[in-house]
Symmetry: C2
Subunit: 107 residues, 2 copies
DNA sequence: CATCCATGCTACGTTTTTGATAGCGCTGAT
DNA sequence: ATCAGCGCTATCAAAAACGTAGCATGGATG
């Protein structure tokens, strides 16, 4: 395990990782995935869950996330995570844990 | 474990998580952390590692990451991850793995 | 049928963020 | 003294995101 991490440190940033990082760098992208963890949400419910996202950006993101196979649209149910999206959720759960530790640390 | 994930799904998005997601949503933010996994990098080396980031944005991000205690500046060595930054790297390692599986899946 | 309401989504003008490029001031080596 | 590399700033252009209004559809209700 320690060895594997060392290899990760040495290896150049892969194309796949670069695009995952590019995805993460678009505003609201991960937040949308995170909000969908509860189950399918309608467009408007998703908008409300994110708080202040504008519908144009939400629409933009949903297209991108659908193109990547992270989110899918279900008629009459709205949007929900695919299997890949679910796996991404687990990554975000790790981020969630990290964020909790970070803010605890800042006090 | 399964139970803990269910709780995560039910719980509302915390303030800490919202700001972590906001951080992720700024372009290059996570990429910078990822590139610093190899060890300390100078401003220009970091710029080169990211590929095409402009110096003004890099400067902006570094300030933000320093304010959050994720990155620190070491005289004559450049920038490196703090302990929190290292823990964030481990989260990104999970993202790395996810990205590899995702692209494998798309073929 | 007519009305109402919620939905997914688009249009559009403004603001914010990011980008590209040039270059300044400093430091250390030659 | 020169020179190269460094961290970083300035400036302007381009792109992304925002806020708001509103359209079209479809189902429920009177």
């Amino acid at each position: 395990m320690a060895q594997r991490v060392q290899n990760l440190r040495r290896a150049p940033t892969s194309v796949a990782m670069a695009s995952a990082l590019a995805l993460s760098g678009r505003r609201w992208a991960f937040r949308i995935v995170w909000e969908l963890r509860v189950g399918p949400l309608s467009f408007r419910a998703l908008q409300a869950a994110c708080g202040t996202i504008s519908p144009s950006v939400l629409q933009h993101r949903l297209h991108g996330l659908r193109d990547l196979g992270i989110v899918e649209r279900i008629p009459r149910l709205g949007y929900r995570l695919t299997a890949s999206g679910e796996r991404l959720f687990h990554v975000l759960a790790a981020l969630n844990k990290w964020s909790a530790e970070l803010t605890k640390e800042l006090h």
